[in-house]
Amino acid sequence: MKELDPIVFVIDDDRMIRDGLQSLIRSVGLRVETFASAQEFLGAKRPDAPACLVLDVRMPGLSGLDLQLKLRDGGIPIPIIFITGHGDIPMSVRAMKAGAHEFLTKPVRGQDLLDAVQKAIASDRTLRKERQEVDEIRGRFESLTPREKEVLDLVVAGLLNKQIADQLGMSELTVKTHRAHVMEKTQADSLAHLVRMAEHLKASTRK
């Protein structure tokens, strides 16, 4: 599973800082890729692995905060560690609100950065796993027929077979058959498991 080795992306327009951060992060055995601008990063191919982004706030062209919003809107969830020359409060509030993982001021202490990077990668790993699970569940749920989906919704809402049959205008036996298919297709062990999966899915789509 070579491609699952975590990777750190460093984006800073200052070559010396870029090289320094890269060297620092590599020294603890992490893979590092550097970019001189946000555009360069957006244009690059990103390997499918747990990752985090070390990002300079102030850059010519697309700023760090702009990139953060672009990634969020583009559905590219990646934890971001911001680095800024002067940590002014409104800017850090904005970044944190938009989901920044960490906000560090320059000059950054090496250990602080490495800690932040490790935490960000761990969090990305968890999130990736969660996303994978959700994707899998979604796949299973999407294999249901429209009728089965209707039955599923009502089952999850806590209705009895008889009530479902009345509401959908079918026999209780038919409801039972649909229900069995639903349990089979979603690989649910129990009613409780099914409900949990459905909630999970709903929560993640709402996000």
């Binding site: 200052d14 010396m16 800082i17 090289d19 320094g20 951060l21 060297s23 620092l24 590599r26 020294s27 603890v28 102030r58 010519p60 680095i83 020359g85 002067h86 320059k106 000059p107 950054v108 202490r109 090496g110 250990q111 950065l113």
Partner: protein, 391 residues
């Protein structure tokens, strides 16, 4: 004063004594020659009176006349050896006395005139000397005032420079902090490489190298700023204006980036060398650059570009222009642009352009502004080359 009085008394005694002495000599001579020449006393006494008056003044002159009269009365007019004068001799005697008086008056008048003339000349000389001293004092005062003015102007120029730099504080702080951040990151990396179980010396070495590079860059930034804020007295030397522009652009780079302004340099490679104070040139250019950036902060519909251009001009001159794509200049602003304390900014002091213009003019150049065809303004100045306009 006492010495003066003694001297005056001595001089008077001498002059009166001289008169008596001369009359006595005349008497002796007259008596000696009495037998060979008729009435010789005429000549000798007249001579004594003339000399006494000429050498001693009016007083001694009168004394000589009196003594001469008495002597003639006593020795030469009958009855002899007596102060009486016979009626027959009276007209002759009176004529003699009148002549003597006439001579002494004439000589004394001549002398007085000459004295007055001499005195007038002396006074004139004294007055001229006084006036010269006065003029010298006034000139020294004038020079002192001019020096003070010069110093004040230099101080004001420096103050304006510091104000301009003050506007750059945030970006300068960034400019210094940036390399320091690189130093810290690389030093930390170096330590990390060395602290590994198997230290990686090659990695550590290159990280340490980058740390040094960063520190050097930080000190360069500081040196650039220090030279701008410390020196007040201008020093003239040969200046490559392109170099000054490159340094200034580097100084304003951060400020430009903060405001999403791109600085473009279009520098002509074959410019003559100019002569002047490079710090002051840098001040003028920095001022124009900061103004240009400021003028573009609210521009959103077009790229914010600041172009610094140099080109050779006629008569060996150099032309520098700073062109922005900002809000431009309206008529009112255009008219008052170079007035002291005129500013369009809330925080501006309004001295930048007026001082810039005086700097350029002091170097024999010209500074002016004109609107761009495509929006924004263009500030330009010319400077004569080192060889002057002749070549």
């Amino acid at each position: 004063m006492r010495i003066d009085i003694t001297a005056a008394v001595r001089s008077a005694l001498f002059r009166y004594g001289l008169a008596v002495g001369l009359v006595f000599l005349a008497l002796l001579a007259s008596m000696a020659l009495q037998d060979s020449i008729g009435n010789p006393f005429w000549f000798f006494f007249s001579a004594a009176v003339i000399l006494s008056t000429w050498l001693g003044g009016t007083g001694p002159g009168w004394l000589a006349v009196i003594c001469s009269t008495l002597a003639v009365m006593y020795y030469f007019t009958p009855p002899l050896r007596s102060f009486a004068v016979t009626p027959r001799e009276l007209p002759y005697f009176v004529t003699f006395v009148a002549c003597e008086i006439g001579v002494t008056q004439l000589i004394s008048w001549r002398r007085r005139t000459e004295d007055a003339l001499r005195q007038a000349r002396d006074e004139l000389e004294v007055r001229v000397a006084e006036r010269t001293a006065e003029l010298k004092r006034q000139m020294a005062e004038q020079r002192r005032i001019e020096e003070a003015l010069q110093a004040t102007r230099a101080e004001l120029t420096r103050a304006a420079r510091i104000t301009t730099i003050g506007e750059l504080t945030a970006s300068i702080a960034h400019e210094v902090n940036q390399p320091l951040a690189a130093v810290v990151a690389n030093a930390d990396a170096c330590v990390a490489w060395l602290s590994r179980e198997k230290p990686d010396l090659a990695e550590a070495r290159s990280a340490a190298g980058r740390a040094t590079e960063g520190a050097t860059r930080a000190s360069e930034v500081i040196a650039r700023i220090r030279s701008l804020i410390t020196k007040a007295t201008p020093e003239k030397s040969k200046v490559q204006i392109n170099q000054v522009i490159e340094q200034t652009a580097a100084l304003a780079e951060g400020q430009a980036a903060r405001n999403q302004v791109v600085i473009k340099l279009e520098l002509s490679p074959d410019l003559p060398v100019v002569f002047g104070d490079s710090i002051q040139f840098q001040q003028v250019i920095l001022n124009l650059v900061v103004n240009g950036i400021e003028a573009m902060t609210c521009i959103t519909d077009r790229p914010r570009i600041l172009t610094l251009r140099t080109e050779p001009e006629d008569k060996g001159q150099v032309r520098v222009s700073v062109q922005d794509s900002g809000v431009g200049l309206n008529e009112e602003v255009m008219r008052r642009l170079f007035e002291p304390f005129f500013t369009t900014r809330a925080k501006g002091m309004g001295m930048g352009l007026s001082i810039s213009r005086s700097i350029i003019e002091a170097h024999g150049g010209r500074l002016w502004a004109e609107p761009n065809g495509s929006g924004g303004a263009s500030f330009q100045f010319t400077l004569p080359s080192e060889d002057g306009p002749a070549s």
